[in-house]
């Protein structure tokens, strides 16, 4: 903790420095910003931080963040319970929700298999997934992990070692990979173009 600041200010700078991507300079800037904002805004910020830590927990069904026992998606009767989208993180669920296209339910793994980092299947919410799939309600599972080595490893592991042995009648699909909207074919790499060709669709 720097001795150039008054003690409470040094404490705040120190706390900001612990945040991801925040260095000493940014921490100082944020702390000085807090000193400039009205007192009620500072209280609101502090209360929001405390509130999120005390009320937010994982949904007992899907693993999404929620302030209830079960999240708003899992309790929504309009959701198609037979269609499940598996994502790695809660932020991926939010990205899917923003599309307004998916009307099924989710399962958040809370990570991906990353053998090189020592993250194996036992560290993910796979037991909970098995419980949900063994209910016989889910008829299709969409594997929506990122098209990275870790994401592909996780998707293949779930398909081959978990879902198929559990219930071979469940349809297993993977989100399409290929050219992004606004992408440039000239700059696309070999793997992306191979995926784009493999996942091509007939124009009608």
């Amino acid at each position: 903790m720097s001795t150039h600041y008054a003690k409470p200010l040094a404490r705040l700078v120190g706390e900001f420095e612990k945040l991801p991507g925040i260095g000493p300079k940014s921490a100082q800037r944020l702390a000085f910003h807090v000193l400039r904002i009205p007192e009620d805004e500072a209280h609101a910020l502090a209360a929001a931080i405390v509130d999120v830590r005390t009320t937010i927990k994982y949904c007992r069904v899907c693993g999404n963040f929620t302030d209830q026992d079960t999240c708003f998606i899992c309790t929504d009767p309009r959701r198609d319970q037979s269609l499940m989208c598996i994502v790695a993180e809660a932020r991926d669920l939010i990205a899917m929700e923003k599309t307004n296209e998916f009307r099924g339910v989710y399962h958040v793994l809370q990570g991906v298999i990353s053998p090189m980092e020592g993250v194996g299947p036992d560290r993910l919410r796979i037991a909970e997934l098995q419980d949900r799939l063994s209910g016989g309600i889910v008829r299709e599972v969409i594997l929506a992990t990122n098209p990275t080595v870790e994401g592909d490893t996780t998707a293949m592991y779930l398909a081959r070692n978990i879902i198929k042995p559990l219930d071979p009648s469940i349809k297993i699909t993977r989100i399409a990979h290929g050219m992004p909207a606004g992408g440039d074919l000239d700059y696309a790499d070999q793997a992306t173009l191979i995926s784009a060709l493999e996942w091509r669709r007939e124009l009608t």
Binding site: M116, P121, V149, M156, D184, A188, D189, Q190, A191, T192
Partner: protein
């Protein structure tokens, strides 16, 4: 800011900040190099594909203050078949992690680059991916200066196996002495560093060891040995690697669970920690 071009394979990719990746490349020209690929996690990034783990590419790097910066990148081989087979993809990750533990920053060793590329090609094409991994381990140990002597006993110098050898003879690989032990000196039950080898397992390792970097087509066609032979060969080389890097490779348990699901439980040492 000095710029330079290298041909390399991405050993590791770690997300950094909002959209960046820090990648560890093993390059032909400079050995291991770490660099930041700015914006590589954006969907339309021109660096994204080339900065993915297990991708071979041509990279233009600019010297930065603490980390070099990837300014341009072009994929040469993304090994797309690996992405369709879980066991082979797990094996490929093991190859990359293993090499990463035997090298240091900016120490060029072009043969190691050639080996990694050959290893990834083999993981795509080899008839038996487990055999490809064993061959890669032998070559990696050799290029790192730790290649075991598999043709003669490291204690008495006698050729192994003897001309009149029996199929039931028990040999060993002495992890500490870096080579084979004849039937007289092998004592797998008495010495912790003696990894037991049957006649078949020793023959299998000798056969693999006779294939250099230029023989990858032949390695790709080597059939899988019996489960017992494969298990002993795996354990002997795994223990040798553990001895050399003073820890276990993190990706080994996952690969083993897929490539050799019936493996015996004695695969990791309780005395040594996982290498960070």
């Amino acid at each position: 800011m000095a710029q330079y071009n290298v041909t390399g394979i991405v050993l590791r990719r770690v997300p950094y900040g909002e959209t960046d990746n820090i990648i560890t490349l093993y390059t032909r020209e400079r050995g291991r190099v770490s660099a930041i690929a700015k914006g590589a996690r954006k969907p339309i990034s021109r660096l994204a594909g080339a900065c993915e783990t297990l991708t071979c590419g041509r990279y233009n790097l600019a010297g930065g203050k603490s980390l070099d910066i990837v300014t341009q990148a072009e994929v040469k081989d993304a090994f797309p078949s690996l992405r369709k087979d879980l066991s082979r993809l797990a094996g490929a990750q093991y190859l990359a992690e293993a090499l990463n533990h035997f090298v240091v920053e900016e120490d060029a060793h072009p043969d190691l680059f050639t080996l990694l590329r050959a290893g990834l090609l083999l993981m795509e094409r080899a008839d038996d991916p487990q055999t490809a991994v064993r061959w890669y381990e032998l070559r990696l140990l050799e290029l790192a200066g730790y290649g075991p002597d598999l043709c003669s006993c490291v204690i008495c110098g006698e050729t192994v196996p003897r001309d009149n050898a029996s199929q039931t003879d028990i040999y060993a690989l002495s992890v500490a002495n870096g080579g084979a032990l004849c039937t007289d000196h092998a004592n797998p039950n008495g010495y912790e560093d003696h990894a037991a080898l049957t006649f078949d397992a020793l023959d299998y390792l000798q056969h693999l060891n006779a294939h250099g970097l230029e023989h990858i087509r032949a390695v790709a066609k080597i059939p899988s040995p019996s489960e017992a032979t494969a298990g002993l060969a795996r354990m002997a080389l795994r223990r040798t690697i553990r001895w050399r890097i003073d820890g276990d490779l993190r990706s080994a348990p996952f690969m083993d669970s897929l490539l050799s699901p019936g493996r015996p439980p004695d695969e990791t040492s309780p005395h040594q920690s996982t290498v960070a």
